[in-house]
Symmetry: C2
Subunit: 130 residues, 2 copies
C-alpha cells in the first residue's frame, strides 16, 4: 500500500503529535508537533522537522545546537493521529537542557521527583547565555 499523507489526522490547529525514540538505545527522547509540511520535510530530507506552537513556524531539531535527528523510521498509530519517529540523535542529547531525553523528571513511588540521567552538554555553551 502506498503511503498517503491524507490518511494522517491533524488536530484543529493542523498539527499531529510526534514521539521521537532513539533507534539504538530505544530511549524515548521527546514529543513535539508536526504540521503537514513538517512531515513532508522530514520524509524528503531525512532529518526531523517540527512545528513550534509558540513561535508559529517550522523548526529543524538541532538547527541551533547541531544536535539534529536523523530519520531512521516513521510509524503512525491505529487512529492515524500520532506519529512515532525512530531517529539517530546526533550529539547524544535531545533535550535543550542538555539531557539525552526530555523525560528526565522522574516521579517516584514515594511522591518525590528526581532528575534521572546526566547532562551531556552545558546549555549555556551550546545556546549561549541568554
Amino acid at each position: 500500500m502506498q503511503f498517503d499523507m491524507e490518511v494522517l489526522k491533524y488536530n484543529e490547529a493542523g498539527l499531529i503529535p510526534a514521539i521521537v525514540q532513539e533507534v539504538t538505545t530505544r530511549e524515548v527522547l521527546m514529543l513535539a508537533w508536526m504540521n503537514r509540511q513538517a512531515v513532508e520535510k522530514t520524509l524528503s530530507t531525512g532529518e526531523v522537522w517540527f512545528y513550534s506552537r509558540s513561535r508559529q513556524k517550522m523548526w529543524k531539531k538541532g538547527e541551533t545546537s547541531g544536535h539534529v535527528q536523523k530519520l531512521k523510521g516513521l510509524y503512525y498509530d491505529c487512529d492515524a493521529d500520532t506519529l512515532l519517529v525512530l531517529a539517530e540523535q546526533v550529539g547524544g542529547a535531545a533535550c535543550h537542557e542538555g539531557y539525552s531525553s526530555c523525560f528526565h523528571n522522574k516521579v517516584n513511588p514515594d511522591g518525590t521527583v528526581t532528575v534521572e540521567g546526566e547532562q551531556q552538554f552545558n546549555p549555556a555553551e551550546v545556546y549561549g547565555k541568554q
Copy 2:
C-alpha cells in the same frame, strides 16, 4: 523535591498527552490523553487511566479487554506538558486491533506502508463483534 501535580501543564481542554512505553521490551505502545484526575488515579491505583476525548470520560486501559497496563514508572518532560509512562502491558498487546503496539503502520523509504508485527489476539473475540 516533592512531586506537585500543579507543575504539569494541561492544554486548553485540561488534558496532557501520555506516551506509554513497555518497561521490558522498551516498545512504544501508544499515546493517549490524561486529565488531572487520570494522572491521580494512575498514581494511586498503579494501573494506567486515560481520558477519552470522544467519549468525554475517564477510562482504564484494558477495562474491556483485560489488557491493563501496570504502572512501572512515570516521567514528565522539560516543558512539563507531556508524560512518559513506563508500564507492564498485561496480555502482551496494547492496541485494540490486537497488535502489541498501536504504532504498527510503518512508512517505508520507498513510500509504501506495511504493517509491522503480528496480531497477538483477535479483536472480534476480545471485544465481541460489533
